[in-house]
């Protein structure tokens, strides 16, 4: 049997990815995570001297802390299995990627294990995050320079 014919048969028989269901679940999960983040931000604004702008730092730290606990207790992978991208895209997904890799590689010691592998999943997020921020800033700088937009 040729590969193409088999690929056709395989496609026909394999269960389809329920895209709509996944999208709805991702929306709900991601939305819920952000709602919790919003409450935490509001908490920092109301009870501490943080403005909407400065509250984002402690909020992010708190969200990562929560995701760290959930990862350690084995709950975050369950949330991810349900929510997919909804659980991966917010900062909690980043925290999960870092912490899960750190837990996994603890058996190889702290320097070569935890230190060397902690960012093996999150590293690309950092690299491409910094790179895309650079590109966006470059475009904006040029646009401002040519007077298309203002800061």
């Amino acid at each position: 049997m040729e590969q193409e014919k088999y690929a056709h048969l395989e496609k026909e028989l394999s269960p389809k990815t329920p895209i709509l269901k996944n999208v709805i679940r991702a929306f709900l999960t991601g939305g819920l995570i952000c709602l919790i983040g919003q409450f935490i931000a509001l908490f920092y604004i109301t009870y501490f001297n943080f403005t909407e702008r400065t509250a984002s730092n402690p909020t992010v730290a708190t969200m990562i802390f929560i995701s760290m606990l959930l990862t350690g207790f084995g709950l975050y992978k369950k949330i991810s299995q349900f929510g997919g991208a909804g659980a991966a895209v917010p900062i909690t997904g980043f925290g999960n990627a870092v912490v899960s890799a750190a837990i996994e590689h603890k058996s190889e010691g702290y320097v070569l294990g935890v230190g060397g592998n902690m960012f093996k999943l999150a590293g690309s997020v950092i690299l491409f995050g910094v790179f895309s921020a650079f590109v966006v800033a470059l475009i904006k700088t040029l646009l401002v320079k040519f007077g298309v937009v203002s800061w």
Binding site: M1, Q3, P15, N22, Y76, S80, G84, S100, S107
Partner: protein, 338 residues
């Protein structure tokens, strides 16, 4: 031998088996009652997952030996394999047992490939007692092939769950009342261009089909000669495809087909398409199937263990997933005509 078809003239027998499995298998596997030893701790109370993996294999071998009242010194060769890089759990097991050892790798088909090799040694009178087997450990394998354990990645319906289990068999000269190895087929590598490592069932199904057809034609058998034809770890999706391929190739029916991977966790949807790993086929073949052979429920079975021969490097570099399947025919009809 022609086209990978082997006939064992002396029909080596399987004298005993040993199967060990982890805590999740204890809770969720439908075969849990038939396993010899179940652990409460996923690392078998040892510091790392890899240590636990080694312990699983070691205990499985020791259980198989103790059932046959043999000590490791009496064993001529140990043939085992697993999925960890360079098969360190098997290597450490061999070191602890002190038996002359050859490590074998056929991915998840190692359970059968090790039995075939063991039967060849016995058939050629080079060895009296050989232990064959394979094992896998969920935590150790997931980490190597996929993401860290606690990393949240959504698994699709075709994903399979690597089992924490090990199986070992003691193979020796023929004893008519025991299940004996009559013939086997060494599979060819089949690659149908599948690339998704989370859909290995559909990559392996054509390999299983190729070996099955080869075995049937090479040995002049029909599927009705067998009480069951059981595949290793195709999972529900791969098994469905295998049955479709069987229908297409003109086999009369598929009602005596079984798949260890699909059955392992009782079709529990949390495990998606079912179980996989080299411990999966070993655990089911050497417990459920072997016990049914001993009880006489099965007179003749065909075990087809399937393996996906990929590495994390190969699929990240965009290579396809080559697959293999080895078949071995076990009967307890005594010395019937070949």
């Amino acid at each position: 031998m022609k086209n990978g078809n082997i006939i064992f003239k002396t029909m080596p027998s399987i004298h005993s088996t040993g199967v060990t499995a982890g805590p999740l298998e204890k809770k969720k596997s439908v075969f849990a009652q038939q396993f010899d030893k179940l652990y409460e701790d996923e690392r078998c109370d040892l510091p790392t997952n890899e240590d636990g993996h080694r312990q699983l294999m070691y205990d499985a071998v020791m259980i198989a030996l103790s059932k046959a009242k043999k000590s490791p010194e009496k064993i001529d060769i140990l043939l085992t394999g697993d999925l960890v890089n360079q098969m360190t759990p098997s290597n450490f097991t061999a070191q602890a047992l002190g038996i002359p050892y050859i490590g074998l790798f056929s991915a998840c088909a190692t359970s059968v490939s090790s039995m075939i090799t063991a039967a060849l040694f016995t058939d050629a009178q080079y060895a009296n007692w050989i232990v064959a087997g394979s094992s896998s450990h969920h935590n150790a394998i997931e980490r190597q092939f996929r993401y860290p354990l606690e990393y949240g990645s959504q698994k699709g319906a075709t994903a399979q769950w690597t089992v924490t289990a090990a199986g070992a068999v003691l193979i020796g000269q023929n004893k008519p009342e025991l299940p004996s190895i009559q013939c086997a087929t060494i599979g060819k590598v089949v690659d149908m261009g599948m690339t998704d490592p989370l859909n290995m069932g559909s990559a392996m199904a054509p390999a299983a089909m190729s070996t099955l057809t080869n075995h049937l034609t090479g040995h002049g058998k029909t599927i009705d000669d067998y009480d069951t034809i059981i595949t290793g770890d195709l999972g529900s999706n791969g098994f469905k495809i295998l049955k479709a391929l069987a229908n297409e190739s003109g086999l009369p029916h598929t009602k005596n087909f079984r798949d260890a991977g699909e059955e392992f966790y009782g079709k529990d949807p949390t495990f998606k398409a079912g179980a996989s790993g080299s411990g999966c086929s070993a655990a089911v073949f050497f417990s459920d199937v072997y016990q049914k052979l001993c009880k006489g429920e099965y007179r003749r079975v065909l075990l087809i263990a399937t393996g996906a021969l990929l590495s994390p490097l190969s699929y990240q570099q965009g290579d396809t997933i080559p697959c293999i399947a080895h078949a071995i025919e076990i009967t307890r009809d005594g010395v019937d005509t070949i």
